[in-house]
């Protein structure tokens, strides 16, 4: 075995000594935790998206309804004015 190989083997042993005995289990737990967190984040993002869409639709619908009302009032006023003009003639 060359000096380099021995050194690399020693480095590997030193590194392994810094890992806890239940390292694999910890990694699995961490992975699960991250997966759950990502799923929760995705849910929050989806819910926020849906909420924003519903809000945008509601605001748009309210705007359209207000405009319709305004137009109808104007038409009613114009029709009343037309009727009054007709009567006066």
């Amino acid at each position: 075995m060359s000096d380099h190989s021995r050194h690399f083997l020693a480095l590997r042993k030193q590194a392994a000594a810094h890992l806890p005995p239940d390292f694999a289990r910890r990694v699995m737990r961490e992975s699960d935790r991250l997966r759950r967190r990502r799923a929760a984040q995705t849910r929050i993002i989806a819910m926020t998206g849906i909420l924003c869409a519903v809000l945008a639709i509601a605001i748009h619908a309210a705007g359209v309804a207000a405009l319709d009302r305004q137009n109808l009032e104007m038409w009613a006023k114009t029709a009343a004015q037309a009727r009054a003009l007709e009567v006066s003639l």
Binding site: F8, L11, A15, A16, H18, E30, S31, R35
Partner: protein, 181 residues
């Protein structure tokens, strides 16, 4: 010392197939089988032990989440070391940035000194590795880890075969020169 849960006779490809099939036990065994080699690679690349566990954990968490993207179980090992290499590269980049932005503090750079003659040789070896540019160091460390083919090294380091050859040549020449000093 942390010992792998599985014995060395365990077939990695069979484990990869089971792990990809969704077996948590196979995944755990796979981590146990590779943890020592991956930690050794990271230690040789980063040169410090204080973040070794975090970096190893990040590597394996990425391995788990990317397992479905692995094309074939045979290419698992180069793929895993590519993840480890990318984790080290990101870490070294962040460290370089931190050194530029954060004032130096002793707690930031723990300096280890050799305690015995054998440790002294290892310390010198680590120091030499650290002096190599990261792109050359990763190749030297990978070759110390296992006899990879040039094609595999090129895949792991996202590079070309000719670039791998020239970087390895320069790195070996540097190490030879330093050892003769």
């Amino acid at each position: 010392m942390a010992m792998p849960k599985v014995d060395a006779q365990c077939d990695p490809i069979a484990l990869v197939v089971s792990a990809r099939g969704g077996s948590p036990e196979a995944m755990e065994d796979l981590i146990g089988l590779y943890q020592e080699r991956v930690a050794g690679f990271i230690y040789a690349m980063v040169g410090r032990t204080d973040q070794l566990q975090d970096l190893s954990q990040t590597t394996f968490v990425k391995m788990i989440s990317g397992m479905s993207a692995l094309k074939s179980p045979e290419s698992f090992e180069p793929w895993l070391f590519r993840i480890a290499r990318n984790v080290c590269t990101d870490h070294l980049r962040r460290e370089r940035l931190r050194r530029m932005l954060v004032p130096f503090g002793q707690e930031h750079e723990p300096i280890e000194y050799p305690r015995a003659a054998a440790e002294g040789r290892l310390w010198t070896f680590r120091k030499m590795l650290k002096e190599l540019p990261p792109r050359q160091r990763e190749l030297v460390v990978l070759m110390g880890e296992r006899d990879w083919s040039y094609e595999e090294l090129a895949r792991i380091t996202a590079s070309t075969v000719s670039s791998v050859k020239s970087r390895l040549f320069r790195a070996r020449a540097f190490l030879r020169r330093r050892m003769n000093e």
